[in-house]
């Protein structure tokens, strides 16, 4: 799934005056810089009254795609059926959470749980913080299905619409649903985390929703999802690798399986955008530049656990430190997509289109340079407690 992976947006910009009051938790300057840029943390308002989840403060723009374009997507319904739905997997052939968890109906259940818990003991707290953040992101799936259904021309009008787009959205949601289920059950059985705090965080997050600033436009929407799916693919791939390093092969398999789903979804979404570049290169490149300027916001950036006003920032910092998802990854994804969609070779662009093309093609190197320079600075060590692991402190 796209969003789940904590989109630990890293690159930060020393942005001039935003609403966010990032409180006194001292993350190193470098980390703060990196986080803020892409994370949009800055654009979130921390309401002054205590114990409130953050909310979006940017003006929420709607329906920026002109109505004639809506017909374009209707006319692509056949194409979508033949080219996009093929990336869905038949339910009968799909893995289910039970395939990767102790079987409660078997004699060996308790033994299997014991083994699971033994392996989990060897995994450090900071890894669990990142895994929990990922799981919470996955569990906020209602928000993402909603987001897809805000898009003009492709939304599921009834909840059971038979357009290819609607079929895709529901099936995609169903596939993603397994991710949160699997991670939830694993974390529950592991005994390493405070499930109640996690459950609370999920409830807050679904209640908060998110505005990815896709403005009801499928151009913006599918560019966003392309980016996100790749991001989750990378992130889950990293948690799989780390789980292996910590000796938990089953967890590695779990994360790897989820990553494989994400890859398949990435293929589908990037194909849609590739088609849009083919039939409408100018507006598509403008859309790409627009999303990159607004920065790809993280699906779980409004996360809140009832205690920590900087929860997302802290979580992202840990994800960056562990190498699960970093500023470099953000740049890499952008570069990948620019290549995948052949943005450099686009022709027939307007003046604005050329500017957008230049911006997009030049952006990844700029981000990398920024990240390199930021890395080269001395970092102050700081920690933060995470309620997800019973208030224990984690190095940021």
């Amino acid at each position: 799934m796209i969003f789940p992976v904590a989109h630990y947006l890293w690159l930060a910009a020393l942005i001039c005056v935003r609403c966010l009051l990032i409180n006194s938790i001292c993350i190193s300057q470098v980390k703060r810089i990196l986080l803020i840029f892409i994370s949009e943390c800055r654009e979130v308002e921390n309401i002054k009254k205590p114990f409130s989840p953050p909310r979006e403060v940017h003006v929420q723009v709607t329906h920026s795609m002109p109505p004639p374009k809506v017909d374009l997507f209707k006319s692509l319904d056949d194409w979508a059926e033949k080219n996009i739905l093929v990336h869905l997997k038949d339910v009968e052939k799909c893995w289910q959470a039970s395939d990767y968890l102790p079987d409660p109906a078997s004699e060996g259940f308790e033994e299997q749980v014991k083994e699971l818990r033994e392996r989990s003991k060897e995994i450090p707290d900071d890894y669990f913080v990142v895994l929990v953040g990922d799981m919470i992101t996955e569990e906020a799936l209602p928000t993402y299905q909603t987001m897809l259904n805000t898009l003009d021309g492709v939304r599921d009008e009834t909840g059971a619409s038979l357009t290819s787009w609607a079929v895709w959205t529901r099936a995609w949601t169903a596939e993603e649903n397994r991710h949160g289920d699997l991670l939830n059950k694993y974390l529950y059985l592991s005994g390493r985390v405070d499930m109640r705090q996690i459950e609370k965080t999920i409830q807050y997050l679904i209640g908060s929703g998110m505005d990815p600033r896709t403005e009801n436009s499928p151009y913006l929407g599918f560019i966003y999802t392309s980016f996100q799916e790749r991001a989750t693919f990378i992130s889950h791939g990293n948690t799989a690798r780390l789980a292996k390093e910590h000796g938990d092969m089953k967890l590695a398999q779990i994360c790897g399986t989820i990553a494989a789903d994400e890859k398949r979804h990435e293929t589908a979404y990037t194909k849609i955008v590739e088609k849009l570049f083919e039939i409408d290169p100018n507006d598509t490149v403008l859309a790409l530049a627009d999303m990159m300027r607004k920065k790809i916001s993280m699906p779980a950036h409004l996360m809140y656990d009832g205690q920590d006003d900087n929860l997302f920032e802290n979580f992202s910092a840990v994800a960056q430190r562990l190498g699960v998802y970093t500023a470099k990854d953000y740049a890499d994804i952008l570069e990948f997509l620019v290549a995948r969609w052949n943005v450099e070779k686009l022709t027939g662009l307007s003046g604005e289109g050329h500017k957008a093309q230049d911006y997009v093609c030049g952006l990844a190197p700029r981000i990398r340079r920024l990240e390199e320079r930021a890395q080269g600075r001395a970092k102050q060590a700081s920690t933060a407690p995470f309620s997800w692991i019973f208030g224990r402190e984690i190095l940021l």
Binding site: L11, A12, A13, L14, I15, C16, V17, Q29, R32, I33, I36, F37, R293, K295, L363, R366, I367, L370, R373, R377
Partner: protein, 140 residues
Amino acid sequence: MAAVSATCVRFGTSLNQSTKLNQIAGTSTSLKPVAVGWARRGFPSLRTSHFRISCAAKPETVQKVCDIVRKQLALPAETELTPASKFSELGADSLDTVEIVMELEEAFSISVEEESSQNISSVQEAADLIDKLVQKKSEA
């Protein structure tokens, strides 16, 4: 609507500057004893915040900042660039602003702290902060 907001922005900027001027004016009397101190001790330790605020950025600093900003934002020669110019008004996005601050750090061999960087939104603010940091550095 646009006209109104532009006016507001300008007003805000001049208010800022006049505040700074007030602070300068307000502390002018306190400069005398310090001046005496200079004669005795050579370069004074610039520890009082009053003194720091009263030092408006040197023209060379402002010029250097302008050059860097102009280059970063690829501003055409006709574009007017004054100390009061706000980066956002010049078309800088957040990435541009970070890059500008990093260029300034390299050009002046200083390090900008997170808290200070939040206040850099115009050429003047950048120049003021730079001079402050350069002075601090030379004291150390």
